[in-house]
């Protein structure tokens, strides 16, 4: 992300925004808003002064400072020195700085770091709100649960190489196996019928007493129809989908840079 805005030198390749490299943009913060690290602020400076330096340098009206403080909920503490801020408040301040220029592209690195549950929900809603108003929001994060709730499209990178790039749902489908969980007093018959159609079915728990099974290789609709064919009563019929984290770990297993010995 630092390479994207020219802070670090890239070994190869280039990033353009509307066809122009970042350093060629006129008043770049009005095109691209960036939050790379909530710690990039002088602790002895007041939040409002930090935002003023960014606004003035970036050619943005100073009145925007109050607007973005309002957006991120820091109006009441905007005149406090940043050293008194929690990590979550610094994240909000960093987001405020990124939004100063009302940019069409917002780039955020781990924006939910240090936020409390209310803050995490707030930033999720904020980013969805920004995206719903036509902005491009690029978020880098290892908090996959959050990403699965807020992202439309994924770019998965491991050891500096592109591993996959697709919508979140497709990524999960592509890299995990969808299963169907069934509970029924006639579970033995259902399992026999499923296996007869070439699918896998595993009884959950004790074979003699269990009324549940997990079926792989058939869609939930097919399992329901099989049960209906011989009048089986169903107490549960659920599609079990792996999480984004499961999909991510399955696809990046070989690319993990560090792993424990166990």
């Amino acid at each position: 992300m630092r390479c994207m805005i020219g802070l670090d030198r890239a070994d190869a390749g280039q990033v353009t925004f509307d066809g122009s490299p970042y350093h060629d943009l006129s008043q770049p913060i009005t095109h691209v808003g960036v939050l790379l690290d909530a710690g990039y602020v002088h602790p002895a400076r007041r939040a409002v002064d930090h935002l003023r330096t960014v606004a003035v340098a970036g050619g943005v009206a100073r009145s925007r400072v109050d607007d973005v403080l309002e957006m991120v909920g820091l109006v009441s503490v905007g005149r406090s020195r940043v050293r008194r801020y929690s990590l979550g408040m610094r994240q909000r301040l960093g987001l405020a700085a990124a939004l100063l220029g009302d940019p069409a592209v917002v780039i955020l690195d781990e924006p939910a770091n240090g936020l409390d549950p209310e803050g995490i929900r707030w930033i999720r809603d904020m980013l969805r709100h920004l995206a719903s108003h036509g902005r491009t929001v690029l978020v880098s994060s290892h908090q996959l649960g959050e990403i699965s709730l807020m992202a439309d499209d994924l770019v998965v990178i491991g050891r500096g190489r592109l591993i996959d790039e697709c919508p979140v749902g497709e990524f999960i489908r592509r890299h995990t196996t969808t299963r169907v969980r069934v509970r029924s007093p006639h579970i033995g018959e259902i399992v026999r019928q499923v296996r007869a159609r070439g699918a896998d079915a595993d009884i959950v728990g004790d074979l003699a007493f269990s009324d549940a099974a997990v079926i792989t290789g058939l869609a939930i609709v097919d399992v329901g129809e099989i049960a209906a064919e011989f009048g089986a009563v169903l107490h549960e019929l659920t599609e079990v989908t792996d999480s984004l984290e499961d999909a991510f770990l399955s696809v990046t297993g070989e690319a993990a840079e560090f792993r424990s010995g166990s």
Binding site: G39, H42, A44, R46, T53, A57, G58
Partner: protein, 252 residues
Amino acid sequence: MTGAVLAAEWIKVHTIRVHRVLVGVAFAFPVLVAVLVAVFTPEPRVVFGNEVIDLISGTSVVSLLLLACLWAINLTAEYAHGTIRVTYAAVPSRWRVVAAKAAIGSLVTAAVVAVTFWVAWWVSTAVLSSRGSSASLDQVRDIWATFAALIALSVVVSWFALGLGLIIRNSPATVVVTLLWPLLIENLVSLAFTLAGVDEAQRWMPYQAAITAVVDDGGGDSLGRPWGPLYFAALAAVLVGVGMVLENRRDA
């Protein structure tokens, strides 16, 4: 847009309390010393204007070093806290950012030193006058040349600290080098040359050459005016130039 970068750098300078404290101390020190000398000198009637100016010029050199530390801290704190990345995100041209820092440093240092110089003169001569002294500017030879040399030196010292900060990028190390260069390093280098049989080494120490041009009229072994300050300015320009080349090559 260049004016905007200057304005942003000015906001950065005056919104940090330690910067204001350093400016306050840099102002207060020569004024206090001049006033104390005026109050306690045992024979005020034989104190003349040239002696007051020499005293103020000498103590102003301490103020210069304090202000140099301010500019070293102002720049290197940007690396320490990562705010340089926020700055370069807003203004991708690193040349313009460094030029704005140099301009603000030059203007503020020159203004503080100029105000301090004349306030110290006015207050101390007022006290001396009340004690029967007849100290006046008429008794000072080349007062405007002395003042100009002091202002030139103040600007160059701010560049010197900026250049060191660009190269070193670390606050404690930059402040230490900024202070030790005039107080120790040049003396050690000069001593080494002298021991090696090189005469007049002291004369070619850049900071010493500039300081000597301020506190005396350039007589004796010194390079004098304007060559002393210009010689030091050349060193500061080289430091800023090298720092700028490194800044453009390094990751922010």
